[in-house]
């Protein structure tokens, strides 16, 4: 009884995980190798035909390119912003620093749906505050369309994603900065190293483990992000911001081809498993160090 107790205690959690994770995944895998039309239900087994249809679809390649750009671009933007703010907060000794940190962390706790709609209105061509400021500064003309322009729509969604992710990066960087021994900076100062030199030779190398973890996490989360893109652009205009999770919805619930949608979601799953494996390796390396 004593030996089986841990397993008994774990059983509810394992059963729950199996129900909400393993079962849908297995069902998805099954659906990906047969014809499943929402109207007529499951049809005949068709092997890898759904995967072939996915890879033959030009929208898949467009969405893959957009997803890669969105995940990498958005994450890099967030990391840059997070690092800059972490450096500022690390240097400040004001009593208000914890309050400012909390304030700067707000985007992280805002629901992505709310954030998406807020960004949509900020970027509105006629009534958005961003356009009002930029046109007042003479940077763009009034009425410049950001989300309605195929050239800028994805960039805007990327910026919104970066805005949501930067607080997490900032907090992680802040923790990383606080763990750098002060002696290293003191020694560098004694040797006459400039601020830039200290940043490049001490700060950045010490933050490398945090950065790699953040980069991978950011890419994984963005790669799988549906909400921000769907709320802001629905993958438009004219598919300019179409990303893979939104395309899964298109295949499954707009074209009602659940087989093809399942195949695409398995492809995304495979990419995410690869990225997660990489993340775990980086994490293990960090633990060893």
């Amino acid at each position: 009884m004593r030996r089986s107790l841990p397993y008994l205690l774990l059983a509810p959690a394992l059963l729950f995980t199996a129900f909400v994770l393993c079962y849908p995944l297995a069902q998805n895998l099954v659906n990906s190798v047969r014809e499943v039309d929402l109207v007529h239900g499951p049809g005949r087994w068709n092997g890898l035909a759904n995967y072939r249809h996915v890879f033959a679809d030009r929208e898949f390649w467009l969405a893959l390119r957009n997803t890669a750009g969105y995940a990498l671009g958005g994450t890099l933007m967030a990391l840059g912003l997070g690092l800059a703010l972490a450096l500022l907060l690390d240097r400040t000794t004001a009593h208000s620093a914890p309050f400012v940190t909390c304030l700067l962390s707000l985007p992280w706790v805002i629901s992505p749906v709310v954030a998406g709609f807020a960004w949509k209105w900020l970027l509105n061509d006629h009534f958005g505050i961003l356009n009002a400021w930029l046109s007042a500064a003479g940077i763009v003309g009034p009425g410049t369309s950001w989300l309605g322009n195929p050239r800028t729509a994805l960039l805007c969604v990327m910026a919104a994603r970066a805005w949501q992710f930067y607080p997490f990066a900032m907090v992680m960087f802040l923790a990383g900065l606080e763990s750098i021994p002060a002696e290293q900076y003191e020694a560098a100062s004694v040797d006459g190293a400039s601020a830039l030199r200290r940043f490049l030779a001490i700060t950045l190398p010490n933050l490398r483990p945090v950065s790699s973890v953040l980069l991978l996490l950011g890419i994984i989360w963005s790669f799988n992000d549906f909400t921000m893109v769907f709320v802001m652009t629905r993958g438009g205009p004219i598919d300019a911001s179409m990303v893979l999770p939104v395309l899964v919805r298109e295949f499954s619930f707009v074209h009602f081809d659940l087989g093809k949608g399942s195949a695409l979601s398995i492809v995304i799953f495979a990419v995410l498993v690869l990225l997660s494996g990489l993340y775990l390796r980086v994490l293990a390396g960090r633990e060893r160090a």
Partner: protein, 427 residues
Amino acid sequence: MKTVITMAAALALLAPGCARNDNAVVLNDWNFGGRPRLIEWLRTRVTSFESAHPGVRVVQSQKSWNMIRELLYADYSAGTGPDVVNVHANYAAEFGGAGYYYPINTFPDFEQVKRWYVPCMMESTRYGENYYGLPSSAIAFVLVCNKELFDREGIAPPRTWSEFRAAARRLTKDTDGDGVIDQYGLVLLGGDRGGFAYRLIPFFFKAGARAMTDDLKTVTFNSPEGVEALQLIADMYQVDHSVTPGFLAYTLTEINDLFCSNRVAMSIEGPWFRGMVDDKSPGKKFYTVPVPVPDDRIGAYDTASTLQDMVMYAINARTAHPEQAWELIKYLRNEEADMAWIREDLGATATTRSALASPEASALGDLPLYVHEAQHAIAWPAHPKMIAIASDIFTPYAEKAIVGEMTPREAMDQATREAQELIEGKR
């Protein structure tokens, strides 16, 4: 203390059960879209139905038009769809054809009920030999013109494409003299794939183009008339710059904001627009006129077809209570109920003969125009794939043509090819 808590908990659990008649038949009624006033009216009407039918309880849910097909497919395929739902009448082909809707012509009093409605409106709910719903709101797509801007320029609403293009050019201007255009002639609903197709196709229909041949076997977006219609809008966008540059991101909310703030002069809309404008900008006036026709079809200005859409009340084919569902939809859409469409201005056009023939109807603003247009209008072809084709094939290619990524000819050829493949099962 423990006893008190236990009794309170038991009472709390029992209370909901006591509040309702356990033997009541429960009907789930999904309502898509609608103005607050309409939703409120439907609540009252359902309460009145429940009083008249003590054994029936109706559970109403309000849903968004934006996700209608996804929601319905997901629920119907899972066998959990609502008993009664209000949907586009052209879903009769898609959902009725798939066996999801109940053929209401099998009810014994159907022929008598059918006579309540304007025949062309009733016909919109038919697919094959069966009728799948009762007409709820007739919709004809028309051109709305911002009266203040038109009057300021001293021009009348356009009737032909030349006049339309000229009016849009003239109404596109820099109003505050800062060298930047801040008022546009036309706005399009580019951020909503379905909504965009519904607003562009009236130009095709007015030119004599059709989406499919009558036998529903051949897609015809690329007819010369269709290409010409698309060329008109593309020229307005690319050459005249009289279409709002950011239209690809607009939903109905943005269109309403732009219209009410005098940033745009014209839009293609339907009977809901009056209420939307009133809610945002009470008292704002606009002209409601037919969508313009090609110059050489001016003789057919009064009869050329626009797009007719229709909302209908349908019954789930798998409902356990078809008789009660039938009673409910009749109650929601009978001649007496239809008068509320007119008296209370619920944002749609009435569909029964008696309501439309009433003295109140002829006195109601733009209703006569909507009725006239609806009687000459044609619906999307009754093909089960048509709505998917309109949203997912026609719209993206038409948008590409308008912004200049493709020529109208290339775009419509490609859209036709892909749509044809879809209906032939090759995609």
